[in-house]
Subunit: 143 residues, 2 copies
DNA sequence: TATTGTTATACTCTATAACTATA
DNA sequence: TATAGTTATAGAGTATAACAATA
């Protein structure tokens, strides 16, 4: 068994997680980007600028992602009224349903990746992953 | 501090790793896909079909990735001689240099993500990540 | 003038289907 | 006929730059 450096091990873990997540999203006819967007608006409308910042993407990239997601009937743009420059994004009923289905499936199927570990090791990994993610990217609990 | 489910914690960890890796690749003027390709051919030529299987992508998708990478002067196609259908892919000098630079940078900078952990926790995470990655995706040690 | 969001354009990545050349 | 690889086409994602409307 080759000694694998820490960096490579993290990268390998990330790859298997990403691959499984993409599959889960695809099973619900979603791309990962759209699933993430839905997750952030499923509990109430949010401004475009706020979403772009949370997603770590430029506002124009978000605008294009929203275009595609809106075309699928999963979200819709709304005017805010007070400031007429502002657009808020809300989920549709179909979007909310999809978001919750993916979220449940992530919780159910992603942990399978660690099925080869002992229960104690799984708990360890759970805690360490949460700790690193929280430190590097605070306020980002999304499927 | 919100209780984060295991699936969400894994996803959060994967996101921060992926983001950092993409940045490291970009610092060397590479995309993650191209860096991965370079990594697989940097120690000797490989057949297209073999590469496609290793990368988990269809052979036509690989052909296109190779097109872009070859256009940048990082790899080049060679005929195998024996079977004239076969094409082998080799790195150029520039490609080899880039591959090794990225590889070194991954080893140097990716572990920083875990800098908030104790040395013991880092060792734990290292072992657990390597174990899960090896089980889910054997033979895949690549930057 | 500064801010919010969009449009235009370009490039990467990946997928499906149809294709060429060799075996 | 089967295999190795390519080409055509399309859609998703993201980036930069220029733009429109509102404050």
């Amino acid at each position: 068994m080759a000694e694998q450096a820490f960096g490579e091990a993290l990268l390998g873990l990330s790859h298997v997680i990403q691959r499984r997540h993409t599959q889960i999203c695809a099973d619900h006819d979603l791309t990962p980007a759209q699933a993430q967007l839905l997750c952030m608006v499923k509990d109430g409308p949010r401004r475009m600028a706020e979403l772009a910042a949370s997603l770590g993407m430029a506002k124009n990239a978000l605008s294009q992602l929203v275009d595609r997601t809106e075309r699928r009937g999963l979200v819709h743009r709304e005017s805010d009224g007070n400031d007429r420059r502002v657009i808020t994004l809300a989920v549709t009923a179909a979007g909310k349903e999809a978001a919750e289905a993916v979220h449940a499936d992530v919780a159910r199927r992603l942990p399978d990746l660690a099925e080869g570990l002992s229960p104690g090791d799984r708990r360890q990994l759970h805690g360490l992953a949460a700790s690193v993610a929280a430190e590097q990217c605070p306020g980002r609990t999304c499927s």
